[in-house]
C-alpha cells in the first residue's frame, strides 16, 4: 500500500501532466420514434412494443419499449446509420398476432420519425429445440448421430404435421450468402418431409414431434455413445438414408422421413456441428407428389462454379426458421431474411459440447406451455442447454 501511495505521489510530480490532449469532441443525439399501429390493433395492446435500434455499421443494438402513446425515446445515440425494428405480439380470442416494423434511419442530428408495423398471425408449429453440436465418446472421439430437431404445436388447436418439410439452408455461414439475389426465396441443400396425407400425424396442443438423425437410444445402443445426452429410441421420425451399402441403420421405431433433396448425398445426413446449419420448417402446398414435383421444378445451381443443384423454397411456405450460426463473428453472414428470423442463435460452448438451443417459454395457459415466437431467434432462444426432447420447460 505504501509503495502504491509513493508511486502515485511520484506520478503527481509529473510537471507536465497538464499537457495532455484536449478532451474528445463528439456528438450524441436524442431520438424519438412514434409507432403508428393500424386500426385493427386494439388500444389496450399498443403499449410496451419492443423497439430495437441497430447501428448498421457497428455490431450493436439498443432496445426500448413504447409508452402507451406508441412513442419510444432513445438517448445518447452516436451519429451513424441505423435500422429501427418493432417487435410486438398479443393474443386475442385465442389467436396470437404479432407486429413487425422496420425502417432505416440516418442519425446526424436530433430526430423524430414514425414507423408503421405490419400485423400478422403466428404459425402453430415452431422449432422448439435444435441439437446439432454433438458430443464426445469416452474415447474422446466426436459423436453426432444423436442430433435432432423438435417441432412443437404452439397453438391451442390440434395440428397435423404430415407434409411439413425440414429444410437446411445451403450456406454454412462461412461467407456471405451467395443467394441474396433471389428475392423472397431461400435456397436449401437438404429437404426432408414428414410423410402422410394431411391428417396422419396429429400433434395435440402443447405436444411435439422429434426428427432424429438416428432414432436409437444413443445412451444404451451398441452403435451409440454412453455420453450422449439423449435417448431418441422413440423419436417420431428419423432421417434414414437408403443406400446399397446400408451405411445408415434403419431404426425400428422411428418412421422414416421422405428424402426430397439431399444435395451432398452421403451415407447419412449430418447437421454442421459447429453451427453452420441454419434450418427451417416449411409446408409446401399439395400432396406428396405435388411437393416432389415442386422441388424438382425449382432447382438452382451456382453459376460457373458448381454442378450441384439446390432447392428454392419461397419464404411464404416457411412456418418457422432458426438462424443458427457459429458464433458472433459469423453472425454477419446472415442467411434468413428479417421476416423469417430477425436474429440468430448458437451454442456458445461449440462443437461436441452436448448442448443445444431451446426456445424460451413465454407463458403457460391451463398447463399448456406456449413458447416465445417473435421471429427473432436472438430473443426467442436460450443458448447452451442440455437437450431435453419431449420435456416442455
Amino acid at each position: 500500500m505504501k509503495t502504491k501511495s509513493l508511486l502515485k505521489t511520484l506520478i503527481l510530480l509529473f510537471i507536465f501532466s497538464s499537457c495532455e490532449m484536449k478532451e474528445p469532441d463528439f456528438n450524441s443525439y436524442s431520438i424519438e420514434l412514434k409507432i403508428e399501429f393500424s386500426e385493427e390493433v386494439p388500444l389496450e395492446f399498443r403499449d410496451s412494443a419492443k423497439v430495437v435500434l441497430s447501428n448498421l455499421t457497428k455490431n450493436y443494438s439498443l432496445t426500448e419499449y413504447t409508452l402507451n402513446t406508441g412513442e419510444v425515446f432513445f438517448d445518447k445515440i452516436e451519429p451513424g446509420f441505423y435500422s429501427a425494428t418493432v417487435v410486438h405480439s398479443y393474443s386475442e380470442s385465442g389467436t396470437a398476432y404479432y407486429l413487425n416494423g422496420y425502417k432505416l434511419i440516418d442519425i446526424f442530428s436530433p430526430l423524430s420519425d414514425t414507423i408503421i408495423p405490419i400485423v400478422s398471425k403466428t404459425n402453430a408449429f415452431v422449432i422448439k429445440e435444435y441439437y446439432y453440436s454433438g458430443c464426445l465418446t469416452p474415447a474422446g472421439k466426436a459423436y453426432s448421430s444423436d442430433q435432432f430437431v423438435e417441432i412443437y404445436n404452439n397453438s391451442s388447436l390440434m395440428q397435423y404435421a404430415d407434409g411439413i418439410s425440414l429444410i437446411e439452408h445451403e450456406s454454412y455461414s462461412l461467407e456471405e450468402n451467395y443467394w441474396t439475389f433471389l428475392k423472397d426465396t431461400i435456397v436449401a441443400r437438404m429437404i426432408w418431409t414428414i410423410p402422410g396425407e394431411g391428417s396422419d400425424v396429429p400433434v395435440p396442443p402443447g405436444s411435439s414431434i422429434v426428427l432424429a438423425r438416428d432414432g436409437i437410444n444413443h445412451q444404451d445402443d451398441s452403435l451409440g455413445n454412453p455420453l450422449s445426452p439423449v435417448n431418441l429410441m422413440y423419436a417420431d421420425f428419423e432421417f434414414w438414408v437408403e443406400s446399397p451399402t446400408g451405411g445408415d441403420v434403419d431404426a425400428p421405431y422411428a418412421a422414416n422421413l421422405i428424402e426430397n433433396l439431399f444435395t451432398f448425398r452421403g451415407s447419412d445426413i449430418v447437421f454442421h456441428t459447429r453451427g453452420g446449419s441454419a434450418i427451417a420448417i416449411a409446408l409446401i402446398p399439395g400432396d406428396a407428389e405435388a411437393r416432389k414435383t415442386f422441388i424438382e421444378n425449382n432447382l438452382i445451381q451456382e453459376e460457373l462454379t458448381s454442378t450441384r443443384y439446390y432447392g428454392k423454397v419461397p419464404n411464404e411456405y416457411i412456418l418457422d426458421a432458426v438462424e443458427v450460426t457459429w458464433d458472433e463473428a459469423h453472425a454477419i453472414y446472415k442467411r434468413f431474411p428479417v421476416e423469417l428470423d430477425a436474429g440468430y442463435t448458437y451454442v456458445i460452448a461449440g462443437s461436441k459440447s452436448g448442448l443445444c438451443v431451446r426456445r424460451k417459454v413465454k407463458e403457460i395457459i391451463d398447463g399448456r406451455v406456449v413458447y416465445q415466437d417473435t421471429n427473432n431467434s436472438t430473443e426467442d432462444f436460450i443458448k447452451d442447454v442440455v437437450p431435453n426432447p419431449w420435456i416442455y420447460e
Partner: protein, 518 residues
Amino acid sequence: MNNKLIYIFLLLFSVLNSNAQVSDSINAVSLNSFDLIRIINPWLMSSNPAGLVLNPDISPGRMNLAYHGENGDYKRIQQGENIGNYSFQTERYKKKDNTFYFGTFSYDKSLEKGVFYSNINNPYRGTPFLLIDTIGNDEIDREFFTLRGDLATPLFKNINWGFSADLNVGLASQNRDPRPKNKVLNLSLSQGLLFSFSKLNLGLNMLYSYYNEDIEVEIIKENTQMAFFQLHGLDSYTYHVAASFNRLYKRNSMGGEAQINYNSGKINSLFGTRFLYIDETADDGRKAGDASWSYIKNDSELEGISIELYNTTKITNNSSIHSFNVKARINSMLGSEIIQRLEVFGETEAVDWLTYGVEEKYYSSLKDAEFSYSYLKMKEEFLQNYKIHFAANYYSFEQAYYVPDRDDAYENVILSLDLDKSFYLKKNIISLATGIKHKKNLGFSHNYGEGNFITEKLLIPDLNFLSSDFNALSLKLSYERSLNKLFDKYFFNSTIDLYSGENDLNRTIYNFSTGVIF
C-alpha cells in the same frame, strides 16, 4: 526517392566500415563496452546526434549472427505463441578527422506462430484502429532490414552539428486465408546542434519520422468472401465482407528535444525534454475486380502528443561509476472515426464515399516513470569488472471510447535487480549475469458494457494479461576470446528469461548471438 535514400545510407555505411578490418589497438574493448559507452557519454541516451562528438576515444564495432526465440502462453492476445527470429547485425562507432560516425545494419528473418486476430504487422504500436479477421492460428513470416547512420562534426568553434537517419523496411505475410501482406517502411530523421561552454553543454535537435504500412489482404480460395473488422477502440468496430481488403497507415511524427549537460569530469549529468506530435491516418480499399466498392474509404485518424523528461547522471570515483537514470513520459492519443457511406454523385452517377461526420471518440493516456541505478566497478577504463543494476518502473494506461461509453485502465510497477560479473582469464573473458524481475499490478478497472466478441476474445484476455503479476528470472552467459589478426575478439552471448505469470502461464525468451568485435 526511397532508392536515393538507400544509396545515401550505403555510402555512409561504407565510410563507417572502411577500416573495419583493422583491429582497434588503442583501447581494449569488450561486449560490455557497448553498454558502457552510453553511460560514459550520456548524450547517446538523447536523440541529439550531435552528442556523438562527446564520445570517448574508442571506436568499437561488432558483427554477429543472432537468434531470438519466444515460447509460451504468458503473452498478449494478438501476440504469437511462438516466435523465432534469425538476424545478422553489425554496428560501429568511428571517428575520422574531427567527424564522429555511428552506423548499424541488421537483417531480420522471423516466423511468428499461433497468431490470432491480427492483420497488422505490430498490433501493439499504439493505435486502436486495427484491422483484424477471425480466422486464427496464423503464421507471420517477416523479413526486415534496418539501416542507421549518425554523424556529428564541428560546425563552428563551440558549435557541433549532427545528423541521424534510421530506416527500417520489411515485409510481413501470413499463410492462411485471409492472407495479409504488410509492406512496412519506418524512417526517422534527426538533426541537432550542440553548444559547448567549458563544463556546460547545450543541445537542441529536431525529430521527424514517417511510418507507412501498406496492407494488402487476399483470399486465395476462389469465390470466398470473409469478414474484415476495423476496430475503432475498445469494443467498437465496423466490418466489411470481401474477397480482398487493403489498408494504408500513414503516420507522421515531428517534434524536438532540448538538452542541458553539466560535465565536470567527475560528474556528468544530462537533463533533457522531448516533445513529439503524432498524426496517423488509416484508409481502406478493395480490388475492383471482385468488390462492390473499391474507392478509398477513410477509416480513422489518430492524433497524439508525447512528452518526455529525463535525466541521466554519471558520477565517477576512481574505478567506480555510479549511474542514475530518471525518466518520465506521458503519451496522450485522440482517435477520430470517419463516418462515410457509398453514394452516387452528380450527373455522371459516379460512386464514392461521402463523409457524414468525423467524431473524436477515442482517448488514451499512458504515463510511464522510471528510475534506475547502476553501480559499475571497472577493471580498466572501458572494461567492466562487475555491475549491479536496480530499476523501478511505474506505468499506467487508460483508454476510453465515448458513446456508447466504454473504458478500461490499469497501473503496474516493475522492479528489477541484475548482477553482472566478468572474469578475465588471460585472453578470455567470461561474463555471468543473473537478474530477477517482479511485476505488481496496482489496480485495474473496466467498463465494457454488455460486450461482444471483441470484448470476449480481445479486451478481457488482454486486460487480464496486462493486469496480472509476474516474476521473471534471467540468466546470461557470455564468452569472449582475443584474436590476434583481423578482429579484436570473438564472442558468443546467450541469455534466457523465464517469465512466470498468474494461472500457471509462462513464457521463455532466449537469445543467442555469436560474432566478432573489432
